[in-house]
C-alpha cells in the first residue's frame, strides 16, 4: 500500500509539472490541480497509514483504543482540499475571463504586461 501510494504521488507530481510546462492555459490549471492532489497524497503517506482503525470514539469506552490512525493528516488534507477547491474554482473563472479578454489559450501570447510602455 505504501509503495503504491508513493508511486502514485510521484506520478501525480510528474504529470502536474509536465502539464504546467505546456503552453495552454487549461493544461496549466489541470497541472496545478494534479500537483495539489499529489501533495495531499504525500501528506497522507508521510502521516503513516493505519488500516481499518478510524480515530472515532465508539459508544462504550471514553478513550480511543490502542492503535488508531492519526487524525491530524486527515484534518490537514481536508483543509488543503477545501482551500484548493476555492482556488481552483477561482482559477477556472479566471482562465475563462482571460480567454474572453485576450482571445487566446496560448500563454506565449499573453505578454502585454511585459511591454515597455
Amino acid at each position: 500500500m505504501e509503495i503504491l501510494l508513493a508511486l502514485m504521488t510521484g506520478v501525480l507530481y510528474a504529470a502536474g509539472i509536465y502539464m504546467i510546462l505546456r503552453r495552454s492555459l487549461v493544461k496549466l490549471i489541470l497541472g496545478l490541480i494534479l500537483l495539489g492532489n499529489g501533495v495531499n497524497l504525500l501528506i497522507f503517506l508521510l502521516g503513516g497509514i493505519t488500516k481499518g482503525k478510524p480515530p472515532v470514539i465508539p459508544d462504550g469506552p471514553a478513550v480511543l483504543g490502542e492503535v488508531f490512525a492519526a487524525p491530524l493528516p486527515q484534518a490537514l488534507i481536508l483543509t488543503a482540499i477545501v482551500i484548493s477547491f476555492g482556488l481552483q474554482s477561482f482559477a477556472i473563472v479566471l482562465i475563462k475571463r482571460a480567454y474572453k479578454v485576450v482571445k487566446t489559450d496560448d500563454l506565449d501570447e499573453m505578454n502585454t504586461t511585459d511591454e515597455n510602455a
Binding site: 478510524p54 472515532v56 470514539i57 481536508l78 477545501v82 476555492g86 474554482s89 477556472i92 473563472v93 475563462k96
Partner: protein, 136 residues
Amino acid sequence: MKTLILRTASNYLLPLLLLFSVFILLRGHYLPGGGFIGGLIASIAFVLHAFANGLENTKSLLSTHPGFLMPVGLTLAVISGLAPGIFGLPFMTGLWYDEAIPVIGMIGSALFFDIGVYLVVIGVTLTIIFTISESA
C-alpha cells in the same frame, strides 16, 4: 438537460437531500459528518435542481441570493467562536449545555459554529456555480 426522469426525480430528491444534509450536519460532532460535508450535500441538491429545471427556477426557489448566506454564516461562526470569551475562556473553547435535547442531541457552541460553516459553504458553492453557469 430537460429529461422528464431527471426533472421528476429532482423534485423529490431536493427535499430528501436537504434533510439528509441537516442530518449529516447534526451528527457531525462525534461521528463522521459536519458542517462542511452537510453544506456540500445541500448545495449539490440545489445544483441538481438547477440542472433539471434551469437556473432561473432554482434561483426563484431560493428567493435570496446565495451570496447573502456567506456573511450570515460567517457572523454566526465568529460569534460562536468569541462566545467563550465572555466566560474568560480562550477563543473557540467548546461550551456545552448540560442536558441533551431530544432529536438534536447535545447543544454546544461547536454546533453553532458548524451551522455557520454549513451556511458559508452553501453560499460560496452556489455563488461560484451560479456565476460560472451564468457566464457560459
